[in-house]
Structures are given as structure tokens and as C-alpha cells.
Symmetry: C2
Subunit: 340 residues, 2 copies
């Protein structure tokens, strides 16, 4: 049993962000550790996943999940270790995937946990977790690239995009990785082995993209929105597919941007090209999760898919890391190391 002197440290939503979140929208608190009841466990967080979708949950907008209440811990997937157990299914020391949120401890009744048995448990937050699963579902179930088709991937070195690039290449597609900055572009080309890697910050990015897609674009994996989408739309082929996983460039918008209005061009292109645009969240695809886990484990073991983690050390650094993530400052899947 933990010494009851230990406190639960948690980061709560202090204020709903207006536009880009700032540090004072979040607040670090210490509260007493609760005692656990029959059937319950006390989880101690080892790693916390930081993901762009959390920005949406901080707002009051209608979304696929309810907003976080003010004063509540920010939501999030964690890798946790069982510190105390009054549940026969879990023993002290077990490592599980949980949804503890942004806090160092969490009392669980044992539901919605998944035991992990791997050397690098933080992978379960990235390439083997929801980021990898989003890449797998979005690309393979919605994008469905065929060999020889052209796939463009935005945020191509991020937690989701890096896996999309590699899956597209494994499927035999001509793969165009789009990232921001020379180091990410080099990584996408040399490590992820995209056929072409482009920097969306280049002044002539749209022309570069056109030159990189001489046969047009069949699948655009949307992670970003904004100018990258604008450059992709004119290149879409007949029956193009656009799985929408995120629109990080637009999460911090407080109102519709000034014009021109791009929506007529977007919708007319979807019509003319008989294209498909579909939003998805992985929680709708849990029936594919075991297959994903089996496929991805094999690809990682084979070396067909590589991964990169951006590990932030220390729970108290989560807010700054999250703000940086929304600004593209991460390089790879962001996880916060909370405890050893």
C-alpha cells in the first residue's frame, strides 16, 4: 500500500481557452489520494499521451464527446501501473493502458483497462495505441489506397502521420509526405521512406505538390486543414478519398477566418471528382482493434514500420508540451513521462 502521504497531482481545466491555449488555462493541483473500495484499483501514471483532440474537449462546442468540465482533470490516455488492488483481475505491479487523464493517480473499477506486456509500454500510446490505430483505420478502411495510387499525408512526422506514410508505402502507393521544417522533411524522406517529402512552409509549396503528384492525388489523409488542404484540392482525382483525422491548423480558431471562402471550391471539387470526405474516430472501429494490434506488432517486429517518440520528462511540463504540440513543435508522438 502506498504511503497515504503521497498526493495525487492533477492538471485541471482552469478556463476554456480562447484560440490557442495558454498556460493559465490549465492549473496544477494536489489533492489527497482517495482510499479504494472493493473491486477497485489505484493506478499510478507512468506515461501520459498528449494528442491534438484534447483541444476540442476543452471547448464547449458540440463534439463527439462532452466537453471537460471546468475544474476537472483534462482527459487523456495513460500507461499506468497498479499501485493498490482490491480487484481480483489485477495485481499490484501490473501495467495497463487506462484513461486516467492528466493526473498522477486514478482510482479505477477495472473496466476499460487493457493489460500490457511489452518492453516499451509507452508504445501503447503511440504506434500501437490510438495514434497508430487512427492511421490504420483512416488510411486502410477509409482511404483504401491501391498500388500505384498517390497518397498525400499531412503532418507526416506526427504521431499519426508517420504511421500513415509507412502504411501507404507498404501498400505500394506513391507516397507524398508533407511536414513543416527541413529536419522533419529529411526524416520523412530518409527514415519513413516517403517517395517525396515536402515542406508546407515553402513559398512555392502548392507548385511543389503539383509537381510531386503528376498523376493527381487519390487519397489525402487530413490531419491539418488550412493551406495544405487548399493545395491538395485542385489535384484530387476522380473517386478520391479524404479521411479526416484532424484539422490541427484550425483547432484554435475562434471565428471563421477572413475570406476568400474556400468552401465552394471544396464542395464543387467533391462533386466533380465524385470524391468522398469522411470524418472518423477510432472508438467507432473497436471491432478492428485486435486485427490492428496483430498487424502492427508484426510490422514493428519486421522493421517495416518504425516509430519515433517525443518524450517530455515530468508531469508538470504537460501544459507547455501540449501548447507546443498544437503549434507543430513536436517531432513524433508526444508522451509525458510521469514516473519510472
Amino acid at each position: 500500500m502506498l504511503a497515504r502521504m503521497e498526493k495525487n497531482r492533477r492538471i485541471v481545466l482552469a478556463r476554456r481557452p480562447v484560440g490557442a491555449p495558454v498556460a493559465s488555462d490549465m492549473r496544477l493541483e494536489e489533492v489527497a489520494l482517495p482510499a479504494i473500495g472493493d473491486g477497485q484499483l489505484l493506478l499510478k501514471t507512468l506515461f501520459l499521451s498528449l494528442d491534438p483532440y484534447m483541444r476540442g474537449r476543452m471547448s464547449e462546442d458540440r463534439s463527439y464527446s462532452p466537453p471537460i468540465a471546468l475544474g476537472d482533470p483534462i482527459v487523456g490516455r495513460t500507461i499506468s501501473r497498479v499501485a493498490e488492488s482490491r480487484n481480483r483481475d489485477y495485481a499490484v505491479g501490473d501495467v495497463v493502458m487506462a484513461n486516467s487523464g492528466w493526473q498522477t493517480h486514478f482510482v479505477s473499477d477495472g473496466t476499460a483497462l487493457r493489460k500490457l506486456d511489452m518492453q516499451h509500454p509507452s508504445l501503447a500510446l503511440g504506434v500501437l495505441g490510438s495514434a497508430g490505430f487512427a492511421a490504420y483505420i483512416g488510411l486502410l478502411e477509409i482511404g483504401k489506397p491501391k498500388p500505384g495510387e498517390t497518397v498525400a499525408v499531412a503532418a507526416a512526422t506526427g504521431g499519426v502521420g508517420a504511421t500513415v506514410v509507412q502504411l501507404a508505402r507498404l501498400r505500394g502507393a506513391h507516397t507524398i509526405a508533407i511536414a513543416g521544417g527541413a529536419d522533419k522533411v529529411a526524416y520523412a524522406r530518409d527514415v519513413l521512406r516517403a517517395d517525396v517529402a515536402l515542406d508546407h512552409r515553402a513559398p512555392d509549396f502548392a507548385a511543389q505538390l503539383k509537381a510531386a503528384a503528376p498523376n493527381g492525388i487519390d487519397v489525402y489523409f487530413e490531419n491539418v486543414g488550412g493551406d495544405v488542404l487548399h493545395a491538395v484540392v485542385p489535384l484530387l482525382n476522380d473517386r478520391a478519398r479524404i479521411p479526416i483525422c484532424g484539422v490541427i491548423a484550425w483547432y484554435n480558431l475562434t471565428e471563421a477566418p477572413a475570406g476568400p471562402d474556400f468552401s465552394p471550391s471544396l464542395v464543387r471539387t467533391i462533386l466533380r471528382r465524385r470524391a468522398l470526405m469522411e470524418g472518423f474516430v477510432v472508438s467507432d472501429w473497436l471491432h478492428k482493434q485486435e486485427q490492428f494490434f496483430a498487424d502492427m506488432t508484426k510490422w514493428i517486429d519486421d522493421g517495416a514500420i518504425v516509430y519515433r517518440e517525443h518524450v517530455v520528462d515530468g508531469f508538470e511540463n504537460a501544459p507547455a508540451a501540449f501548447i507546443g504540440l498544437l503549434d507543430g513543435k513536436n517531432f513524433g508522438k508526444v508522451v509525458v513521462k510521469v514516473a519510472d
Copy 2:
């Protein structure tokens, strides 16, 4: 054999329209009737279909079909009678559906024709033709409304929309018809029997739509674009489906409209609601055509589906009728009566 004194009258594309087409973009010509060769037929146009998609074909933009060449007759589906035949499959007097375009005569080799045997052959251009087929495919194959779901239909008294409204009602959906003007709204409510019919020109249209859809919108059949789409998007439910059949409000755009930019709101909603937006053209769905024809004939015979034609008398009036169609001046499916 026709007297060779008869001429072929045709309306050709004189100039590519900039924005809304004007009369001088089209030109009426008379040319000699060609002689027919072995295996050919001379078709005499009885009815010409006018449809919004023709606007797209007048531009040089990349679309699902090549643009009409300057000086060529404008494309279009026709109901025609065989006036001369050197083809064993067709006899003089047969009535066929053809693609003669905007002209009084056409020489065919007998391919891509469909013999018609019905009392009102012009129906084959409307409720039993591509307009009805577009309604059937877009609503039933892409929209897929379930009983009790809410379906909103724009341009609800037009050639496509009127059938969509009735099919949605037949499927047991709460059906919201959107049209422009009191007479069309009354028709949608009283004849098409929509559950609610709204005038998109009302200053408080968005609020009326919200009140008419207390459970949100599950299927939006897009025929229009513009302000109707803007009002629909905030009401979309989880897993909403948006078949895109046309965007008549936007066909005449010469450049992106002034802001604000609606595209972030549109794409974010597709993401949050895990919605699907899909463009379609009926030529991709020909494998469903016989089923459509059987279903629709039965529904018309039963009185379950009614239809309204807007018959324009006289071939020379086609340009003005087409300009009016793009401006919403028609009421029902527009056909031009070319000959008795």
C-alpha cells in the same frame, strides 16, 4: 425519308460564359441535314432535357466530363423519334432516349439509345430519367435514411429534389423540404407531402430550419450549396451523410466568394460528427438502373410518387429557359418541347 429541304437547327456554345450565362453565349444555327450511312439512323428531337450540370460543361474547368468545344452543340439528353433508319434494330417511328444535345436532329449509329414505350415519353427525361435516378442513387445509396431519421432536401421542388422529398417520406424519414418562394413551399408541403417545408429566402431561415429539425439532421441532400449548406452544417448529427448532387448556387462563380471562409467550419463538423460527404454522378451507378426503373415505375403507378414538369415550348427558347433554371425560375423538371 425526310425532305432534304429540312434543316438541322442547333444551339452551339458561342462563348464560354463568365459567371451566369447570357443569351449571347449560345447561338442558334441551321445546318444541312446529313445523309445517313449503313447502320445509322436519323433522330428527330421531340423533347430536350435542361439540367444544371450543363453549366459545368460550358466551362473549361476539369470536370467529370470534357468541356463542350466552342462551336459545338450544347450537350443534353433528348427524347427523339426515328425519322430515317438504315439500322435493323430501329424502325421509323420508334421513340428513343438519346443524347442528341441541343439540336433538332442527330445522326446515331444506334448505340447508347434506349427504346421507350410509354404514354408520356418526356418522363424519361425527368422522374424516370437521370433526374429521378440521381434522386434514387443519392438518397438511397449514399444518404441511406432510416425510419425516424431527419432528411433535409434543398431545391425541393426541382427535377431531382421533388423525387428526393417523396423517397425520403416513403422511407419513413422526417422530411424537411427547402425551396425558394411561397408557391414552391406550398407545393412541397401539400403535393410532395414533406413534413415541413421552408423558404430559404426567409430572413430567419436558419432559425426556422433549426426549429424544424429538433433532433438534428441525419441526411442532407445537397443540390444547392451557399446559404442553405451554411444553415444545415451546425445541425448535422453524428454519422450524418451528405450526398452531393449539385451546387447550383455556386455554378456561376467566377472566383472564390469574399469571406468569411466557411471551409474550416465545414471540415471540422465533418470530423466532429464523423460525417460523410460524397459527390456522385449517375453514370457511375448504371448497374442500379434497371432496379431504379422497376421501383420508380411502380411508385408512379401507385401514386406514391408524383411529378411535375416545366415544359418550355419551342426549341429556340432553350437558352432563356436554361438561364432561368440556373436562377431557380423553373418549377419542376425542365424539358423543352421541340416537336410534336
